[in-house]
Every structure is written in C-alpha cells, then in structure tokens.
C-alpha cells in the first residue's frame, strides 16, 4: 500500500507539470490579454504596450512558462495581475468553500446514492422502476438549472435558506450549514442518481449469487445479508463511480458557486479566465489536478481496504 501511495505521489508531479503546460498554452490561445482588459476599450496602444511590458506579456511563451514554473517549484505561484494578491493566498482563502461544498456533496452522494440503490435492489418492482425513472431525471437535469430552481423555491418563494453567499464554519456553524444546503443539493443530485443506479445494478448482481442463496438457506438474517455481504461486495464498483462523480463535481462546483455566489475556487477561476489572469488560472489548475490525484489515491486505498484481493495484487 505504501508503495502504491509513493508511486502515485511521484506520478502526480508529472501530471501537474503536464496539466500546467496544457493550461498555459491553451490560455495563450484565448484572444485578448490582461492589459487590454485592465485598461478598457479606449486605452491608447502605447498604454496597452507599456502595461503588457510591465506584466511580462511580451516575453516568449516558453520564457513566461519557465519563469512561472521556477516560482512554482519554490511554492510561489505568482500574483494575480489584477489584485496583486499572491495566488497561493487567493487559493487558500477559497479552498475551505470549495472543499466544504465537495465534501458535503460527497457525503450526500455516497449516503443517498447507496441507500437508494440498495432500496431499489432489495425492494425491486415498482419501487425500483420509480427509482430508475428518478435517476434518469436526475441525470438529465444540469446542476446549474437545478440550482436556479432551488433558489427560486427555497430562498425566494419560501425563505428557508439564503439565496447567495457563504458563512465560514468558524464564524457560525449553523449559518455555514444553511449556506451550503442548496448548493450541495444542486451539486449532488446528478451524483446521487449515478451512484444509486450503479449500486442497484451491483446489488442485484450480488443478490443473485449462489453464496447469497446459501446464506439465506442457512438462516442468516436478511439484514445481515444485505448490510454485511451485499453492501460490501456491491460497493466496489460504486466506489469507482463515486470517485468519478467527486472529480466531476469539481466542474459542477464552478457553475454552482457562480449561481450561489460562493467565494470558492470555481468563481475564482471563472473570473480569472474571463479576465485573462493567467497566474490565477494556472494556480487553480494545479490545485484541481492535485485534488483529482488525491481523490483517485483515496479511492485506490479504499478499494484495497474493501477488497483484500486488490491488496494482494
């Protein structure tokens, strides 16, 4: 297991470099530049050229990238060309928001997805059909649209939850939870349906196995069969799907954070991209890459915990 973790961490360095190169050169293809964005429509070409020079935008792309990489190796991801804030500071200030959103969504997806999937598999019949239909609807609805509907219903029409904004956990745990209920609901819906569907299929497959019949014939309680044998064996493929869903939630978080005006990494990278704030886009890109690597690592470790055969391999 230790070898797996070390190998993955070493691989992560390569992945981060590759992703940063991709982000850097893709951003360079985006029309427009920060100098023009800062100075506006009527700035003189001289003023734009001066600012481009100040920001180092006139240097060759390779020089710009290696300069950034040199700083990144030392833990310096540069500064926002707009606010002047260090990128690391900007990211650290917003990580708690995005992590709160992703973590709570993961818990909701795992709990509800697993519960509904098991329920559907065990009950079958109309309940299963109903859950299948709900799953399809959940998959079809984009989280952005779900977010707008949730705000209209539960923040504007019935004022239970705040329409926008975020309260830090350390400031007020109750307000923190309230500020995340609707965003988490919007972000989780698709994931819950995917995991539920996967869990249902896996659980039905396990329930049809011979050893389940043997267990039943030996008088083992149905509750024990479901929770101890079916859940554990059906959880493996669902875990993979959960990992993919959590990684996908990063993309959803970008949209959801914008609708709920959460000061997270999603809104940060949106603003930075539209204003060509390359250091910030690169910094967030590196963070997202790291996040994906860590999630995959956790999934691998959990896989090993749940399945002894994987540990041996």
């Amino acid at each position: 297991m230790a070898r797996l973790i070390v190998t993955r961490l070493l691989l992560s360095i390569v992945l981060i470099v590759i992703s940063s190169i991709a982000i850097f050169f893709l951003m360079s293809l985006v029309p427009g530049d920060p100098a023009r964005t800062i100075l506006g429509a009527n700035a003189t070409p001289d003023a734009v050229a001066r600012l481009q020079d100040q920001l180092g935008l006139n240097q060759p792309l390779l020089v710009q990238y290696t300069t950034w990489l040199g700083g990144a190796v030392r833990g310096d991801l540069g500064e926002s060309v707009f606010s002047g804030d260090p990128v690391v500071t900007l990211i650290l200030a917003r990580v708690p928001v995005t992590l709160s959103l992703i973590l709570l969504s993961t818990i909701v997806i795992a709990a509800l997805g697993t519960g509904l999937g098991l329920l559907s598999a065990v009950r079958g019949g109309p309940v299963g059909t109903f859950l299948d239909a709900i799953s399809l609807v959940g998959l079809a609805l984009p989280s952005y649209w779900v977010a707008i509907v949730l705000v209209a219903l539960f923040a504007v029409a019935i004022r239970i939850f705040p329409a926008t904004g975020y309260t830090a956990l350390t400031d007020d745990p109750g307000a923190w939870l309230l500020s995340l209920v609707l965003p988490v609901a919007a972000l989780s819906l698709g994931g819950v349906t995917i995991v539920a569907k996967q869990m249902r299929d896996s659980a039905m497959d396990v329930l049809a196995r011979d050893y389940i019949r043997v267990l039943r014939s030996t008088g083992v309680r149905e509750r024990t069969i479901v929770l101890k044998h079916v859940l554990r064996n059906a959880a493996l493929p669902s875990l993979t799907v959960l990992g993919l869903t959590v990684v996908g939630a990063l993309t959803g978080a970008v949209f959801v954070e914008n609708v709920f005006v959460l000061p997270g990494l999603g809104t940060l990278v949106t603003q930075a991209t539209t204003s060509h704030d390359l250091p910030v886009v690169l910094g967030v890109g590196v963070f997202f890459t790291l996040f994906v690597i860590i999630v995959n690592l956790i999934i691998d470790v959990l896989y090993g915990v749940l399945n002894p055969k994987v540990r041996v391999q």
């Binding site: 964005t37 700035a43 606010s83 609708v259």
Partner: protein, 522 residues
C-alpha cells in the same frame, strides 16, 4: 423481508433526522434578510475591481471600489450637478484651458498627513504616469502648479470644459491618493490611503468576492457618513443578483431589465436612468473594406432603415427608448423630437442615389456580453436586409476579444454602445482613436463642432454647441443610433435617497454633503 427493511428504515431515519436538523437550524437562525436596519450597507456590483489603486481603477459604476476610500476633488450628485468635495471651489478660465481649484482645509489622509496642494499635485501627476484606463479622461494637461498650499492650477493645452466633470468621483483622475500610498503604490492593492468616508479593510474582504470598507474616523464631515460599514459584493449572474436583492442579502443592486419586474413585485424600489446609446458604427468611412460606407447617402440610408420603435418595444420599452441621435434623452445636446426615424422607402431611395440600389454585403463586428443573445445586433442586421444589405455578423464572446478584434481594422462596422453626459463626450468615441474609431477617422466639420463646444464658456452657448454636434453627427452618419437603454437598480427597503439621472446613471452611496448621500431607513 421485514428484517431487510430495518437497515433501510435506519437510512430513512438518518435522512429525516438530517433534514430536521437543517430545518431546525434554519428555524433558529436569522433570515437572510436580517441585515435590515443595521448600519452596514451591502451593495452589489457585477465585476471585480479592475484595481483598488485609483490610478489603475475603473470608471462609472465600478468606481465604487475606489470612490469609497478616496474622496474626489469634485463630486457629482445624482442629478448630475457638480458640487464641492476636496475642492471647495473651482473656476475655468482662459477659454477653458485653465482650471483653478481651491482646496478644503483640515483634511487628512489615512496615513495622517495633511491634504494640501502639493499632495494633490503629486497624486494627479502619479495618475498621469500610472497608465491606467482612465488616463485619457484627465484631458490634455500641460501643467499642474500650486501657487499656494490651498490652490492647484491645471493648465490644458487645448480647451477642456469637461475638466471639472472628469475630476468627479467616477473617473478616478480626481480621487486623491496620500503621500504614503504614492510612495508605495503596491500598498494600495491591500490597503487604502485616501481622505474618503471609508477605508478599505482587507480583513473584511475576500478578494474577487466581497470588499469591505469601514468608517474613516478622521473624515472631514462626519455628518455625511451614513453607514458604519459598506460591503460591496461581486455578483455577476443576473438571476443571482435578482435573488440576492429580493431576499434582502444586498440593499442595492444593478439588475437586468429582464428581472426588474420580479424585483419590483418583491416590493423593492427601482431606480433607472438612461445610460448606453446603442447603434451601428460605420467605422470604415473611407471605404477601405466596404466601399459603400464611404458614401454618406448609404450611411444615412442605413440609419433610416432601422425600426427603432420595434426594437425598443421588443427589448422592454420601460427601460429602452428608441433614439435617433447620438446622445440619450436628458444629456446636454439632446434635441427633443430630432433624429433619424424609420423610413424604408427613403432609405431605398438614398441607396439608389448612392449607387447601391441592390444593396451590398457588410461584415459587422459585435459581442454578446453587453448585448446578450446579440438581440440588438440581430435586429439591426435584420432591418438592413430590408434595403438589400446582407449583414455578416461576427460575434465575439468577450469584451476584450471584441476590442482587440475591432482594433485590427478588419471590420468595416461595429455594434457597440456609447455613453456621455453631453454630445461632445459622445462624439469623442468617433473622432478619437479607439474601439469605435479603429481607422482613426477625422472630419473637419465634426472637429469644428467639437472645438466650438469645447471653447464655449457660457452654459447656454455650450448647450447650443452640443446640439450642433448632435446635428453634425447625424449629417455625417458615422453612427446610426438605435436605442438608449437604462441602467436599472433595485433599492432595498433599508436605504433611501438613491437617485440617478441621464447625467449620472451610476449611483454611489457616499457624498461629502449628507443631503446627497444614501441613508439608512428609519
């Protein structure tokens, strides 16, 4: 099966408990509209600050980020009147080429130093060399002198009657920075050094999300300070703005005309004023790319082929006005009842007269940020089809992209809104190089009209000169005006005294005189 139901029941019980806990928290916590009656003013702005350093900051509504901590030399009220701020008096002399400002005494910067003529001169000089986007509005300054500690004289190389206007809070030229801030401009990104009613508080801010300003205890007129704290929230999504306004999360917000009715139905007040004048700029007046545009008959035909009333109605006539001249109604130089009107027959006749009876193809550059879904652009393109002009709309998805594309001189015409509190200011969009004049056009008639307005020292004569500009602009038909659109703001029940007009369509909360400042409701 009963045994299997038990764990499932447990899962259901956990889910119900979770909902109950969240519901309980919701019931116990204050509602989102809880900041009613507090002394904190929460406002919304759609974009992040371009910079917190005034010399590099934005103009118009985005000036809120810098105008709170940096008082300007002159203040513009909601109805467009210029009143004293850091300058208690000013005079324009020598045919509008010399602006003499008398400074207020007893004013100190956040850094503790006294605001005097030397400090103002240093701030203005820093602004001129900082290279910010508002630098062009400073005017053709040739000299800044300080005859004494309380007087600053700005000399312009050519007449500049708008000098005082551009020293107001919206243009950052006149937002005065203290000596300590000037010595270390980077410090202005994380703290402020002005004389304003509020000081920027990094501790109360999340960069890119919300910006907090706390009361300046040394402000020269404490009676004008109406709030203990001001928070500017960055909310760009129109539906999120509407939600935040209707639920009381913000006390003031710029709303989309499409959501204005929803906001009003929720009981909020709406304040609106004309801002943009939209139209088709026929930039290639020399006919380099589109030879037909060199012909004034063709340009006038284009201006006559557009059904302004239909477009205004489609866009929501409450906040959109059909407009056939370069300035919006209420601005200086606007002529009531004057302007291009919809007349396809006459337009066709002019096309024939100009040598293009069958029309021609025209590439038009536009964008979909200020013109969502390119509604205005498509309406213009559709109308031009009625006189045989086949428009090829090139749509850019970002404003910087649009600007860059326009400046390449590859597009003979562009659709872009113009603004100005008088027609001379609007005209600069077409006679000075920029996004609406990428080819660097000039015209002796327009320049003469502009110069005459600039050198007018009498208000009545100036208005007549501005109206001459309006007529000259329509005669030249470089710009086919279409509609004027309003800035629309939602004002919560927690604040009063928010005003806007065609001369000032971006209300800001602070004012050096309490009678013009926003106030908390009693």
């Amino acid at each position: 099966m009963s045994a299997a139901r038990s764990p499932l029941r447990r899962i259901a019980l956990i889910a119900v408990t979770a909902v109950a806990v969240v519901g309980g928290v919701a019931a116990c916590s204050s509602t989102p509209a809880a900041n009613a009656g507090s002394t904190t003013l929460t406002t919304q702005f759609a974009g992040v600050p371009i910079s917190l350093n005034p010399a590099l900051g934005g103009s118009g509504g985005s000036a809120i980020y810098t105008s709170l901590p940096y008082d300007s030399l002159i203040y513009q009220t909601g109805d467009g009147k210029l009143i004293p701020d850091l300058a208690t008096a000013w005079t324009l002399s020598d045919a509008n080429t010399k602006l003499t400002l008398t400074l207020r005494s007893g004013v100190t910067f956040t850094d503790g130093t006294t605001m005097d003529a030397a400090a103002v001169k240093a701030s203005l000089e820093y602004f001129l060399k900082a290279g910010g986007g508002n630098a062009r509005y400073a005017g053709p300054i040739s000299d800044i002198s300080t005859p004494d500690n309380a007087t600053v004289v700005i000399t312009y190389s050519t007449a500049y009657p708008d000098g005082p206007y551009y020293l107001s809070q919206y243009w950052s030229v006149g937002q005065i920075i203290g000596p300590k801030g000037l010595a270390d401009p980077n410090s202005l990104l994380t703290s402020s050094d002005g004389t304003g009613q509020y000081s920027y508080s990094a501790a109360d801010s999340v960069s890119g999300s919300s910006y907090g300003y706390v009361k300046n205890p040394n402000y020269f007129n404490p009676a004008a300070q109406q709030f203990g704290k001001v928070v500017v929230k960055v909310i760009g999504d129109p539906s999120a703005v509407s939600s935040a306004a209707t639920t009381g999360q913000v006390d003031f917000a710029g709303v989309s005309p499409t959501t204005a009715d929803t906001v009003k139905a929720a009981g909020l007040d709406l304040v609106s004023a004309p801002f943009f004048t939209w139209g088709l700029t026929m930039a290639d007046t020399q006919g380099t790319l589109a030879p037909a545009l060199a012909n004034v008959d063709v340009r006038q035909a284009i201006a006559m082929a557009i059904d302004r009333d239909a477009l205004a109605s489609a866009l929501g006539s409450q906040y959109t006005q059909a407009n056939g001249q370069i300035g919006a109604e209420g601005t200086d130089g606007y002529i009531s009842g004057y302007g291009y009107s919809y007349d396809v027959d006459k337009a066709k006749s002019l096309m024939a007269q100009g040598g293009y009876p069958d029309g021609f193809e025209l590439q038009v550059l536009t964008e979909n940020i200020l013109d969502p879904q390119t509604t205005i652009s498509q309406a213009i393109a559709g109308d031009l089809g009625k006189i045989g002009i086949k428009v090829d709309l090139v749509v850019k998805n970002s404003v910087p992209d649009f600007i860059q594309a326009s400046l390449t001189k590859q597009y003979p015409a562009v659709i872009w809104p113009v603004v100005g509190s008088n027609s001379a200011q609007v005209l600069t969009n077409f006679i000075q190089p920029g996004v609406t004049n990428p080819f660097g056009n000039s015209d002796p008639t327009l320049t003469a009209a502009y110069d005459a307005a600039q050198s007018s020292t009498d208000p009545a004569a100036a208005t007549a000169a501005y109206q001459n500009i309006t007529k000259a602009a329509n005669d030249a038909a470089w710009f086919a005006p279409v509609v004027s659109t309003d800035n629309v703001f939602a004002v919560g029940k927690n604040i009063t005294n928010v005003t806007a007009s065609a001369l000032n369509s971006n209300p800001l909360p602070q004012a050096p005189d309490a009678q013009y400042a926003w106030k908390p409701s009693k």
